[in-house]
């Protein structure tokens, strides 16, 4: 009978589950990892609930970095941010390939390129998708200025991208107070002008609603919308291409709201 280690859907949760499953000594083929909420209950399985534990997660993270290298570690972290029912188990299998006894140091660092293996391939693919979405949001996030000077943004991403774009925006706007509320995943990135940033899970649903826009905000939005129109070349118009590059799920949160 398989033992399913069920964990919370965070990096700490997944790494703690890796730690517990490995330490259980049940054998790799007798365990399965799963994030909570993934709708895949199995009848013939024992479920164990994993409590996320920062120090266990930290140890797993350090082991991956040391043995499998920074490149692999980044890919695994990105894959862990994906919206995907099988990610935790796929990550576990990749770690088994790289961290099992007898794997040479050189091979451990190459495991992430062993794309013939379905789990490696899956992790690789997830990491690529998440990285791609995060990159798009670096461009598609739109801030509006509230009367107290705070920059406020709403997005709705498929994957958990906030932790991946936090450093980028913090470095870009070091002296701003800003919020990026991710309605898609129900979390919110908060950056304070003193340089500290963090992610709030389950922010209050009335967030920012009571706030007025700043005095010049509307004029700036008008200027930007005007620019987006005048910059297009009529003789080359291609709405299908525009929609393909900027799908509706992004547009609907953007100032220029291109939908005609």
């Amino acid at each position: 009978m398989v033992t399913v280690f069920e964990c919370e859907d965070t990096l700490d949760g997944i790494f703690t589950a890796v730690y517990d499953a490995w330490a259980s000594r049940l054998g790799h083929s007798a365990v399965r990892l799963q994030v909570r909420g993934a709708d895949t209950m199995q009848l013939f399985a024992v479920y164990r609930s994993v409590v996320a534990d920062g120090s266990k997660a930290e140890r797993v993270a350090r082991t991956i970095q040391n043995r499998m290298g920074g490149e692999t570690f980044e890919k695994i972290c990105q894959a862990a941010m994906a919206k995907d029912a099988d990610k935790a188990d796929a990550i576990y299998r990749v770690l088994v390939l790289g961290l099992s006894r007898g794997v040479s140091e050189r091979d451990a660092k190459q495991v992430i390129w062993q794309l013939q293996d379905p789990n490696v391939c899956h992790v690789f693919e997830l990491s690529r998708k998440v990285g791609h979405e995060a990159h798009r949001y670096m461009g598609f996030v739109r801030f509006r200025e509230l009367e107290n000077g705070v920059l406020f943004s709403e997005i709705s991403s498929e994957h958990h991208v906030l932790s991946l774009i936090g450093d980028h925006f913090a470095n870009r706007f070091p002296q701003e107070n800003f919020l990026i509320w991710n309605r898609g995943c129900g979390d919110c990135l908060v950056h304070r002008a003193d340089g500290v940033w963090f992610i709030v899970l389950d922010p209050p649903s009335e967030l920012g609603k009571a706030m007025q826009l700043s005095e010049k905000e509307e004029e700036m939005q008008r200027l930007w919308k005007g620019f987006c129109q005048s910059i297009s070349i009529r003789e080359r118009e291609n709405r299908a291409l525009q929609r393909q590059m900027l799908p509706y799920r992004f547009q609907k949160w953007m100032t220029e709201g291109l939908v005609s």
Binding site: E71, E74, K75, Q78, Q110, V111, W113, Q114, L115, Q116, C121, G131, H132, H135, R136, M138, G139, F140, R142, F143, R144, E145, L151, S153, L164, I165, H168, F169, N171, R172, F173, P174, Q175, E176, G195, M220, R222, L223, G226, F227, C228, Q229, S230, I231, S232, I233, R234, E235, R236, E237, N238, R239, A240, L241, Q242, Q244, M245, L246, T255, L258
Partner: protein, 436 residues
């Protein structure tokens, strides 16, 4: 000259972005720069697209002219002196306000500032330099700046502005000196190439300096680019691509952009293009340009005097492979990186994956597909473990028919590929992932 009195900022932006849009470059790529923490902004090497306009082009930079007044009279240009259009000019402060306010809201990655020639090239360059100086020193703007060098501007101004901008460009405008003489009487090849050479020289000196003093100011860190107008003059694709190649090799340009001619003014010297701008041709040139930059091809492998234009129906790489069937099929288990790159359906990313994965074990077709190899194109040209995916004839007509039948050639869908090729610029997903 028409200048309406008391234009609002909205009206100016409208006029001066409309006048700037025929310059196709809008990329923000080529340099990594972390913000210092003291100002606002940073740069990441792959560049970032912030929006897409109705023509499907990426909006990355606030692309504007400082003024659309111009004493020159380039026949193809909407801002030419003899054209009757409404004129406007920003002040340096207005450009700064727009850039800062747009940037803070994450509308843009930075500024692309160009200009018509106001009075003379030196005067215009002074204005551009003053604007960038203000932006960098008063507003502490650390985002991306692309600035246009006005042909004929004095050398000292070029060397000054290069320390304020990330990228500079000087447009070649037309592929040959004769065409330039015909359509841009105030510009000469020499006045375009000499600042290009100057920027190249200063960049390489600056690189030396940076080796010694890491904190030395950086000169045009994202390199220089240029643009050629396609279809306004009679040059063939072979001439155009050869010019591009020599710009890459002899002037170390980062990008050459191709701009399908859009007829915006009337002139007996300009061709009539009833079919609209030559977009498919522009697209083929971008594909070929990509082959020069990332696939280690050379212009005269792709075209020749006898075969001077690209095939309308086939992309340049398939076209090349079909006329070199003797070099195929290649075995993906052992072919070197360069050979893999030449297989239709395999790109730099999938070639790299193949090379790394095959050290870890045998490949199969399913794995190749997952690595991003486009099998419907590649099958004719590869073997895997010594076997073709299914028995296929190595026969030009047979393959051609199948490639065309696969529905991704010469159809409107092509423009989509074109976008991915040309506007994502040096966006290498690997780099993006690393940057995160």
């Amino acid at each position: 000259m028409r200048i309406a009195a008391g234009q609002s900022l909205y009206e100016k932006l409208n006029i001066l972005s409309d006048a700037a849009k025929y310059d196709v470059a809008c990329t923000s790529s080529g340099t990594d720069r972390r913000g210092s923490g003291q100002g606002i902004g940073n740069c990441i090497a792959p560049g970032i697209c912030h929006s897409f306009s109705a023509d499907g082009r990426c909006i990355s930079l606030l692309k504007i002219l400082f003024t659309n007044e111009c004493v020159f009279d380039c026949k193809y240009c909407i801002n030419r002196a003899s054209n009757d259009v409404e004129r406007a000019a920003f002040t340096p402060d207005e450009v700064c306000t727009l850039t800062m306010e747009f940037y803070r809201r994450n509308y843009i990655e930075g500024l692309f500032l160009s200009s018509g020639v106001l009075r003379n090239p030196a005067y215009t360059m002074e204005l551009l330099t003053a604007t960038l100086y203000k932006l960098r020193t008063e507003h502490h703007f650390e985002g991306y700046i692309h600035v246009k060098v006005i042909p004929g501007a004095p050398q000292e101004l070029v060397s000054r502005i290069g320390f304020l901008a990330d990228r500079v460009s000087i447009n070649l405008e037309l592929p040959t000196a004769e065409s330039l003489r015909l359509l841009a009487p105030h510009k000469t090849r020499r006045r375009i190439l000499s600042p290009m050479r100057q920027v190249q020289t200063l960049r390489s000196e600056n690189k030396q300096e940076l080796v010694q003093y890491r904190s030395a100011p950086r000169f045009v860190p994202a390199g220089q680019s240029t643009q050629m107008i396609i279809g306004a003059t009679p040059e063939n694709d072979y001439q155009i691509l050869s010019v591009a190649e020599s710009l890459y090799q002899k002037f170390e340009l980062k990008r050459v952009f191709y701009s399908a001619f859009v007829q915006v003014t009337e002139d007996p010297l300009l061709p009539a293009l009833p079919g609209g701008p030559p977009l498919l041709r522009e697209h083929r040139l971008y594909q070929a340009d990509w082959l020069l930059r990332f696939y280690q091809f050379q212009a005269d492998e792709l075209l020749s005097e006898q075969h001077p234009n690209f095939n309308v129906f086939l992309d340049p790489k398939c076209d090349w492979a079909l006329s070199h069937l003797e070099q195929f099929p290649v075995e993906v288990g052992s072919a070197d990186y360069r050979t893999l790159l030449r297989v239709p359906g395999i790109g730099p990313r999938s070639a790299q994956r193949i090379v790394r994965a095959r050290r870890m074990g045998r490949l199969d077709y399913e794995t190749l597909r997952k690595m991003g190899v486009v099998l419907k194109r590649a099958v004719y040209f590869i073997t895997c473990n010594g076997r073709q995916m299914y028995p296929l004839r190595m026969d030009e007509d047979f393959i051609l028919r199948n490639l065309l039948g696969s529905g991704d050639h010469g159809r409107p869908a092509e423009t989509v590929t074109y976008r991915q090729l040309s506007l994502f610029d040096d966006l290498q997903p690997e780099r993006v992932l690393q940057a995160l």
